[in-house]
Symmetry: C2
Subunit: 318 residues, 2 copies
Amino acid sequence: MTVAADVCVLGVGLIGGSLMRALGPERTFGWNRSAPNAEAATAAGFDVTTDLPSTLRRAAEADALVVVGVPLPALDAVLDAVAEHAPTVALTDVISVKGPVLDAVRRRGLHARFVGGHPMAGTAHSGWNATDPDLFRGATWFVAADDDADPDTWGRVARLALDGGARVISATSADHDTAVARISHLGHVLAEALALAGGRGGDLALALAAGSFRDGTRVAGTAPDLVRAICEPNRDALLPVLDECLADLGAARAALAEQGTLGALVDDGNHARHAYENAQATRAGGDTRPLEVTPGTAGWLEALREAGAAGREVKPVG
Amino acid sequence: MTVAADVCVLGVGLIGGSLMRALGPERTFGWNRSAPNAEAATAAGFDVTTDLPSTLRRAAEADALVVVGVPLPALDAVLDAVAEHAPTVALTDVISVKGPVLDAVRRRGLHARFVGGHPMAGTAHSGWNATDPDLFRGATWFVAADDDADPDTWGRVARLALDGGARVISATSADHDTAVARISHLGHVLAEALALAGGRGGDLALALAAGSFRDGTRVAGTAPDLVRAICEPNRDALLPVLDECLADLGAARAALAEQGTLGALVDDGNHARHAYENAQATRAGGDTRPLEVTPGTAGWLEALREAGAAGREVKPVG
């Protein structure tokens, strides 16, 4: 007896391809624009073509969940094809910013069965050859809880994340974008600035650099085009976070110049780092059970958002 | 036959104590202000007292190299005692900033046989119980090449670093302080700012935080008093580096707001990170032999500084 493939992955690069491998070839089929990635996936036993219309028609017929795994610059073309060939399909994505994706989906009237997603996992590498069936194991997979979200699609996306080995955190797309501006995109910007400052010190500075420089500049090793593709689409959320950070740094600079101390920044930063470490320890300790939510019941979106604001994992039931 | 102890360590905390353990009890004796650390060292087989005058007189009689291992706030009191009880002894230190130490030494007329040092190693812990005989293995130990440096003392300090398992990089104290502002102190400030920005995002942001936030905020986990004690004495070198970084971040902010791109920062930061990785790889590959320098020969200080500017290790001979 064969299992009907219920997940259609568009773009089998690092994230989309790893998702296929995590779920296995029986549950998945897909499409990739470039032939080499599609051929590599096919050689690995997966059903991946370069024919987008036929892939989408198959998804519509099977009522498969369509996962958009292309980078943001390729999103419009893929959504145009979805609107043409599978306009009522259940739809999600794995792109690192959520507001701009939601806007693009709404513009095409595809939002009735759309629930955005974002697995917080990745490496500096890309393409099918970088895929890993365990990429999502233990990672957090954000699943959007926006107004009017379709309960059935939300449940399917959340189960997809759980089947991939991830834990689910839910909130609005807007809250997601502000949060990742804080914990990911700002970190990219500061890592580049620290690397640049060290590099300006020449070979002497680089010879004296130890572990704190290595760790603080690690993500500056990511390809510049990828860093820009991750951070720049989140411009609206990143700008106020950057401004806040510039104000914090300016205050520390003034305190150092005028009173010889870095002021409150050091205490506040240390306090925040401990809060992060405690959150990690609580999660690793498994002390908190996921909040079980039945999509579509009264107050379900509010319950998801409340859990997300508390950093609590959620799980679909029913 | 007994070996005469030739290294006197003042302050047997993490760095001073680890140095004693790296060299062994036959070559070292020392002093510590607080009794518990001195007792812990004694229990481990080391000759450590709480009597500073007698320790310094012994150092003067044995012509031992005196290593000042106390934190900067305790430096003045220790140097006052050196000036009183062992004013002509060979002297070095392991404090993380070099200009202020050199000034304090000069004010007491102790500079004729002083050569500053700074092992680029440490942990978030302190005290004798945190010591590790392998703390310096593979680390870089900065040895100052300031004007009028005593050749004999420079050679003794460099050999001390090599005996501890470290590699020696040399430059002026001023160049050291600018370099560590870039590759260490700025990194502390940015890690605190990133942690603070993440913490302001509350539990949702901390739940979404992944590897880049963990690595980028690691040093914000260091005790605030220790961060201040490391960074604030280097105020004069840190302020211009902070200003330069604020200008870089401000330019990236403006480019993002006006053109939707982070601009040159991403390319420049990536370029600098690769330069750092290449420097690390060259060092790990052992491709470059240390420059051998005979202290006191014509142009020896210039040779040391030139090697340091190129990030090249040096080694005393003769």
